[in-house]
C-alpha cells in the first residue's frame, strides 16, 4: 500500500487555536510534544498503563498515547501547560508543591491532570474516590501517600 497522506487537524490547545498536519494514526501525544513543543506531557509506558501522558480532551481525562490526533480534530485540549492561570498555580499544583506530591516529576503532569479532573467531577472526594481517580497514574517515587495528601489539601483549598 502506498503511504497515506497527512491529514489536517484543527484544535484548541490550552485556549489557543492550532492547525497541524499529521499522519492519520499519529498519536496525540507525539503531535502535542513534537509539533506544538508542549513537552510537559510525558510518555511513560506508551500503552495506556501509566497515565504520564494524560490530558483533558473536551473535558475528559484521556491517555494521549492511545488517542490518534485525528480524534482531536475540532476538540479542545488542556495539557499540563494550561492548568495554571498565568503565574497563578492551580490549587492541585500548589498542593503538590507544598505536600511533597512530586519527586522525579515524570508522573506529575498526568497525576496533576487526573487530580484536576477528579476535583472537577467530584469536588468532595472520599479517600476511595481519590484512589480510584488516580488509579491509572503510576508513580515510582512517592509511594502515593504524599500525592493523596496533596489532593486532600487541594480539596480543602478549593472549598
Amino acid at each position: 500500500m502506498p503511504d497515506a497522506a497527512k491529514v489536517r487537524i484543527a484544535f484548541r490547545v490550552n485556549g489557543s487555536e492550532h492547525i497541524v498536519h499529521a499522519w492519520p494514526m499519529a498519536r496525540l501525544l507525539d503531535v502535542l510534544r513534537e509539533e506544538l513543543r508542549l513537552t510537559g506531557t510525558k510518555e511513560g509506558c506508551g500503552e495506556g498503563e501509566c497515565g504520564a501522558c494524560a490530558v483533558l480532551l473536551d473535558g475528559a481525562l484521556v491517555n494521549s498515547c492511545l488517542v490518534p490526533a485525528l480524534h482531536a480534530d475540532g476538540a479542545s485540549i488542556i495539557t499540563i501547560e494550561g492548568v495554571a492561570q498565568g503565574e497563578q498555580l492551580h490549587a492541585v499544583q500548589q498542593a503538590f508543591l507544598e505536600h511533597g506530591g512530586a519527586q522525579c516529576g515524570i508522573c506529575t503532569p498526568g497525576m496533576v491532570l487526573a487530580a484536576v479532573n477528579l476535583l472537577e467531577k467530584c469536588p468532595n472526594p472520599t479517600e476511595a474516590d481519590i484512589r480510584n481517580g488516580l488509579a491509572g497514574n503510576l508513580c515510582r517515587c512517592t509511594g502515593y501517600m504524599k500525592i493523596f495528601e496533596s489532593v486532600v489539601a487541594a480539596c480543602k483549598q478549593q472549598r
Binding site: 499522519w23 499519529a26 492511545l66
Partner: protein, 298 residues
C-alpha cells in the same frame, strides 16, 4: 518496535451508510477503529494486523441508549464511563456497571467502548461476562441489512466471531428481566448479583479470572441462576451445566455447592500464561462460585 506511521490509513466516513458501503466494497480491507484503547497499544508495539482503519468514533448512530418496556439498547460506542453513569443500568444491570468500573482506569473508561471490547474478542475482557449473564444480543449491520445474534453464540473460538468482514457491531440489547417492571430494581424481586475480578490489582490489571453471576432467590431456593466467566477459556463462557444443576437443587447445601464447583471445573478450560496458571485459575473460579452462592443464600 514502533510502527512506521505513513503506512497506516485512518479514514472518517461522514455517515454510517458510507462506512457500510466501504466495508461492502472492500470487505476485510478496513478494520473499524473506535476508542483505540486496544488498537493504539498494538500500533505502538508494531503489532497491528491491519493498515487501513475505518474511524467509526463519531458515527452518531452507534452512540446513545434507548429504553423500551422489554429492552435497554446501547450503541456499540457506549463508553465505560457512560455505562457507569446510566441510572437504568445501575438499577437493572449492575454487573455491567461493576465491570465498567474495573476496566482500566478513568482515562481508559472515557475512551474504551462496549462494542470495541466485544470486537477485540479477548477472553480476558471484563464486560463480556456481565453481558453473558444478562443474555445480551448484538445487532450486526452491513450494507446487506441488519441481523441480531445472541451474544452467547457470538464468540466462536479464540478471537473468532460470528461477524462477517463487511459487518459492524452496531448495538447491544439487554432484555429486561421478565418479572421486573421498568423502574423497579431486580433486587426487589430476589435477584442477587455478584461480580469479581481477580488480578494483580483492581485497576488497570487484566484479570486472571473474572466472574459474573446473578441468582434469583425465592424462599432460600434458587429460582433462576446465570453464571459467566472470563480468562478461563478461549472465549468468555456462560456455564450452562452448572446453572442447570443449581436450578434443579432443592436446597443449597454444602454438598450441592461442592458438586456445582466440580461441574464448573468441567465447563472451563483455563491455560497457563504470563498472567497466571491453569491450576490457579480453576481453583479461583471454583472459589468465586462458592463465594457467589454463599452470598446469595445469606
Amino acid at each position: 518496535m514502533r510502527a512506521y506511521l505513513p503506512q497506516f490509513e485512518l479514514i472518517t466516513p461522514t455517515a454510517l451508510e458510507d462506512a457500510l458501503k466501504l466495508l461492502a466494497r472492500e470487505p476485510g480491507q478496513w478494520e473499524p477503529f473506535a476508542g483505540g484503547t486496544d488498537l493504539m497499544v498494538l500500533l505502538e508495539a508494531g503489532k497491528l494486523a491491519h493498515q487501513r482503519f475505518l474511524n467509526i468514533w463519531r458515527l452518531k448512530e452507534l452512540h446513545g441508549m434507548e429504553e423500551t418496556r422489554e429492552n435497554v439498547t446501547l450503541g456499540a460506542l457506549t463508553t465505560y464511563t457512560e455505562v457507569q453513569k446510566h441510572e437504568t443500568l445501575q438499577r437493572e444491570f449492575p454487573l455491567l456497571c461493576r465491570a465498567a468500573a474495573v476496566t482500566g482506569s478513568v482515562a481508559t473508561q472515557n475512551r474504551g467502548t462496549l462494542g470495541g471490547n466485544i470486537a477485540n474478542a479477548s477472553p480476558a475482557a471484563d464486560s463480556p461476562p456481565a453481558l453473558l449473564v444478562y443474555d445480551a444480543e448484538l445487532e450486526l449491520l452491513s450494507a446487506r441489512g441488519a441481523r441480531w445474534v445472541r451474544y452467547a453464540q457470538f464468540h466462536k473460538g479464540y478471537k473468532q466471531m460470528d461477524l462477517a468482514p463487511d459487518e459492524l457491531i452496531a448495538r447491544i440489547r439487554l432484555p429486561r428481566r421478565a418479572n421486573v417492571a421498568p423502574g423497579f430494581s431486580p433486587a426487589s424481586w430476589g435477584w442477587h448479583e455478584y461480580y469479581s475480578k481477580v488480578g494483580t490489582r483492581s485497576a488497570q490489571a487484566i484479570s486472571k479470572v473474572c466472574f459474573a453471576g446473578a441468582a434469583q432467590m425465592a424462599n432460600g431456593r434458587i429460582a433462576d441462576i446465570r453464571i459467566a466467566l472470563g480468562s478461563v477459556a478461549p472465549t468468555v463462557v456462560r456455564c450452562a451445566k452448572t446453572e442447570e444443576f443449581l436450578r434443579a437443587e432443592e436446597k443449597l447445601t454444602p454438598a450441592a455447592v461442592q458438586k456445582a464447583q466440580e461441574i464448573l471445573a468441567g465447563e472451563i478450560a483455563p491455560i497457563d500464561d504470563f498472567r497466571s496458571t491453569a491450576r490457579y485459575r480453576r481453583r479461583v473460579a471454583q472459589n468465586l462460585l462458592g463465594e457467589f452462592l454463599g452470598s446469595a443464600v445469606r
